[in-house]
Structures are given as C-alpha cells and as structure tokens.
C-alpha cells in the first residue's frame, strides 16, 4: 500500500513538472491593447514580424482583430484563426462591412464618395452586371444591353443611372447553352467572386484585389520568376501590374465561352498590354492606371450601371483639353478640400516630407464630373505637372490648345487622339 502511495506521489510530481516544463516552453504572450478597441489581443505573439499594413492603419491603433476577427486571447493557432473573417482576405465582399465598415471607416457618409463599401459593392466590378447583360443580350435572353441581373441581388434606390436594383443571376434559369457555359466558366472575374484555388489569387477579391498589390510580376508571367506572394499592405499607390493581373490575363473566347490565358512572355512595359488590336498613346503605357482613372470610375459612384462605358469617362482631353478649351482646373482654397485628403492617403505622395505636397493656393486639374485629379497641377508657363501615384515620377505635359494639333471639333474622343498619337507595337 505504501509503495503504491509513493509511486502515485512520484507520478503526481512528474506530471506537475512536465506541465511546468511545457508551460515554460511556450512563447510568452505578446499583449497589445489597440487604441480603437481597448481590448488586449495576443496576435503579435506569432505575427510580430508582419510589417505595418499601411500608414493609415497602424497596429498600435487598430490592432489585428478589429479587421481580421479571430480569437484575440488564444495562443493556439488553429483556435486563434478559427473565427477570422474571410480567411486570408477580410476585405472579401461577403465580410467587408464587418471588417472595414463603420461610420469612421469605409462605410462613412456619402459626401465626397466616402461610402466606399457601398460604392465598391454596387460597382460593375462587383456586380459583373455589364458582362452578364452583354452575354444575355448576345444570346437573346434579354432585349437590350440594360443590366437586369448581377452576381448578387442588390438595390440602389438613389442610383443616378435609373437602374435601381439588380436581381441575382441564376444560371439554372438560363436555357441557352452559351449562357450556361458563361455561368460555368466565366464568373470568377469580378470582385465578389470566390477566388481561384491557386495561392496567388487568394486576395483577388474584395478591396484587396486592388489595394493589396502582390510583390512580383503578374501571374501569367510566372516563367519570369516571382513568388506570387502577397504582402501585408494596403495602398492607394497601386501599380499598373496589379490592374494587369485581372485586366491583362488573356481573353474570353465567345464561341466556346472559355477563358484563354495569354501564353506570350512580354519583355517590356508596352508589350505587357495584351489586347492585340488596342491602341495606346504614350501616357497610357508610361503612367500607372490610377494616374488617370479616378476612384469613381474604378470603384463606382454608388449607382448601378450596365457596363464600364457608362462609368468610365476619363479621356485624353480631361488632362490635355482640346484646341478650343483648356482642361478643367480648380484652385485649392479650403484646407479640408478632398484633394488634400486623397493626396495624403496616397503612400507615394502623402507623408510630411512628401514627394508631392499640395498647398492651399495650388491649382489642380479636375475631371468633367468635378473629381479632383490631385496628382496634376498647373505650372507657370501654361504647362502641367503629373505625379505618378505609384512610381513617384514626375511628368510635364502641355495642353492641346496652342499646339499644332489639327483635330476636328467633333473628333475629340481618345480614339481620335490615337489616330496620330498611338505608338507602333
């Protein structure tokens, strides 16, 4: 009996020592109490090596859980990650309101287009309404190109386009085999899609599709090297390569309703652009896409549209004017002008020792709809200076007025400029 008790007490001691040893082997929790939540989280115990995601979202202020979800006090990886929103992408549109929304964040007031989530989720990049309408019209399922269906049902009562709602596209309701094939093969090319299985596509949806650029060249260029690894970043300094990842991957074959990835291996910036019949003027392959295309064009303006031509409105004349008119300008007088905010929030331009610091009194270009082109300002002598939002390069350009351009008054769209200014490819 006494021997048994002795053995039991020895076993108890061993068990306690083992527990103590296991405890000592565990990494000490690294606690962070973000300003915005005031609640301790231990995520940095494992993720301390991650870089700040952006200057506007410092971890000390936001922490991790506010955006990503997860079990903030767990030191077990599986448990800690079990309730994360959106897996690797908390900006996926199914969870974006919980991750990025809120009055002080990206569901803000409609003024100055601050309701980014509502705008992005109703944009044609999210609804895919243009492609669906186009295909259904082509194959006789609807009488015109007006959008009626989207990837998901959505209402926009204030929609300026007159389209106040879209029903959900249901492939089961379609009888035409071509539309069924479209539904089967072509519905991953929008911001609310379930990303493709390959790791490089894991963040190709939601806000991250644009604002979290990958660190290497586009996926189709994998033979050139590159890890396709995403980086922990959010930025408005979006390089053209990120846009190319979706918009330059290849073409749809409308006969077979399949996507045909490009198989060439471009070696230069100009040949990066795939569309074989498209024409490009120098600025279109020298600048980055975001230097010209505005946030309303890319992220929508809160209305529902039937296609990109209804929302994409930037033309060569937006910056260069015409023979008869100079481009629209605006002199900044209000320190709270939206232009200052947009400039500040751009990673390339925005810091205090900024490469591009706007001041009250500066004159910038504005689009025909009044959107500030904060990265273009007038210089003395009637020229303009453009700051490349992604590369920080500066470019000087002249207006058409006063030049030797012979364009006709009724031929002033970009396609007309291309007649003379497109480069040979």
């Amino acid at each position: 009996m006494r021997r048994s008790l002795l053995a039991a007490s020895a076993l108890l001691l061993l068990a306690l020592l083992a527990a103590l040893w296991q405890e000592s082997c565990r990494s000490k929790p690294v606690a962070l109490t973000p300003v915005l939540t005031g609640q301790v989280e231990y995520c940095l115990t494992c993720h301390a090596d991650l870089p700040e995601i952006s200057r506007s979202h410092p971890v000390k202020t936001f922490g991790c859980v506010l955006c990503h979800g997860g079990e903030r006090l767990s030191l077990d990886a599986d448990l800690a990650h079990s309730t994360m929103r959106g897996g690797k992408n908390p900006s996926g549109f199914s969870v974006v309101e919980a991750s990025c929304g809120g009055d002080n964040c990206h569901s803000g007031a409609a003024a100055d287009y601050r309701n980014h989530i509502q705008r992005a989720t109703s944009s044609i990049q999210a609804t895919y309404a243009g492609a669906i309408a186009s295909i259904r019209y082509t194959f006789g399922a609807q009488p015109d190109l007006t959008a009626r269906l989207g990837i998901f049902a959505i209402q926009a009562p204030q929609s300026a386009s007159g389209i106040t709602g879209l029903a959900a596209f249901d492939p089961a309701q379609e009888t035409n085999p071509a539309i069924q094939a479209f539904a089967q093969d072509c519905l991953y090319c929008h911001l609310s899609a379930q990303p493709l299985a390959e790791d490089e596509y894991s963040r190709f949806s939601g806000c991250a599709a644009c604002h979290t650029p990958l660190s290497d060249s586009p996926p189709t260029f994998s033979e050139n090297g590159g890890s396709h690894r995403g980086v922990h970043t959010l930025t408005t300094a979006i390089p053209y390569t990120q846009c190319n990842r979706c918009h330059n991957r290849g073409n749809y074959d409308l006969r077979s309703m399949t996507f045909v990835p490009r198989d060439d291996h471009p070696t230069g910036r100009l040949s990066d652009y795939y569309q074989p019949i498209a024409q490009f003027a120098r600025c279109e392959w020298t600048l980055d896409c975001v230097d010209c295309h505005t946030r309303a064009e890319v992220m929508g303006d809160g209305s529902l549209y039937s296609g990109k031509k209804e929302i994409q409105y930037i033309q060569c004349r937006t910056c260069h004017g015409t023979l008869a008119e100079l481009p629209n300008t605006k002199t900044l007088t209000d320190p709270n002008d939206l232009a200052f905010r947009l400039a500040f929030l751009n990673e390339s331009a925005g810091h205090f020792e900024s490469a591009w610091r706007l001041e009250v009194g500066d004159t910038i270009l504005v689009t025909g709809k009044g959107e500030p082109l904060w990265n273009i300002r007038t210089l003395s002598g009637g020229t303009y200076e453009l700051f490349d939002k992604a590369t920080r390069q500066r470019f000087t350009f002249r207006p058409v007025m006063g030049s030797g351009c012979q364009q006709k008054a009724d031929e002033q769209a970009s396609q007309d400029c291309h007649k003379c200014h497109a480069v040979e490819r």
């Binding site: 002795l6 020895a10 527990a19 300003v35 925005g350």
Partner: protein, 138 residues
C-alpha cells in the same frame, strides 16, 4: 544520524514528494488565479521630479502619449492621441499632424484640417508634495 528504517524512509520520501507536488500545484493555482489577461490601462503617470522640467520645457511622454508643457502659466499637458481614430499625432512646426489620415492641429490642439473634428484633449497635471509631476488621463 539515526538509522532510518525502510518504512520511515518510504514515508519520508512519500511525504516529501506530496509536499513538493502540493507546493507546485499551489504555485500554479496562484499563478492561474493571479493572471490578468487584460490589465487595466494606467491612468496616472509619474513623470518624475518637476524640477527636471524647467519653464520652457516641451517634452513628449511616449507612454501616454502626451506633450508636457511648462510655460509661464505652469504645467499643462496635451494628449497626442488624434481625436479622429486614435493614432498618435506628431509635433511639427505649425502644431500637430496625424500620420494616419492627415488631420492637422494648431499648437493649442485646435483642429486646422480634418478628418478629426474635435481638438486634442487637455490632460490634468499635478505636482505632489514630494515634488513629483503626475499626469492623469482619466
């Protein structure tokens, strides 16, 4: 040293092991009960001797974060937490600027440029009898 019988030795060993186990278990229990996952944030900061901050002092206290000011009217402090979303503002020539979203404040903490729409918070500073400065955030 008296001879120990086998029985006494086993009893002593058993009692020692049990006592050691008990102590270890008790230590673990105390550690478990005493552990605070979410310790309350401090609201009272001892800034050291007031004499170390002569008139004219403008000193950033990063732990708060706040700016301690000693001017003709005495000691005062301004919170460096931006009233927009809580980032730490940085002192610059014209006042303060928030590195996160670009809010600007004048040297008194008044908003010059949004998105913040409230001034930086003034914090209470007191000198204790032993000459220490205390800054209170609550």
């Amino acid at each position: 040293m008296p001879d120990l019988s086998r029985r006494d030795f086993l009893k002593l060993a058993q009692d020692s092991l049990l006592a050691l186990s008990g102590l270890l278990g008790l230590g673990g229990l105390i550690r478990f009960l005493d552990y605070q996952t979410e310790p309350p944030a401090p609201t009272d900061f001892d800034l050291g001797l007031a004499s170390n901050c002569p008139a004219g002092t403008r000193k950033v206290i990063p732990d708060v974060p706040a700016l301690l000011i000693h001017d003709a009217s005495g000691f005062s402090a301004l919170s460096l937490v931006c009233t927009h979303l809580g980032c730490t503002v940085e002192e610059e020539a014209e006042g303060f600027a928030c590195p996160c979203h670009g809010s600007r404040f004048d040297p008194q903490g008044i908003v010059i440029r949004g998105p913040a729409n409230k001034p930086l918070r003034s914090l209470r500073v007191e000198t204790t009898e032993d000459g220490h400065l205390h800054l209170y955030t609550a």
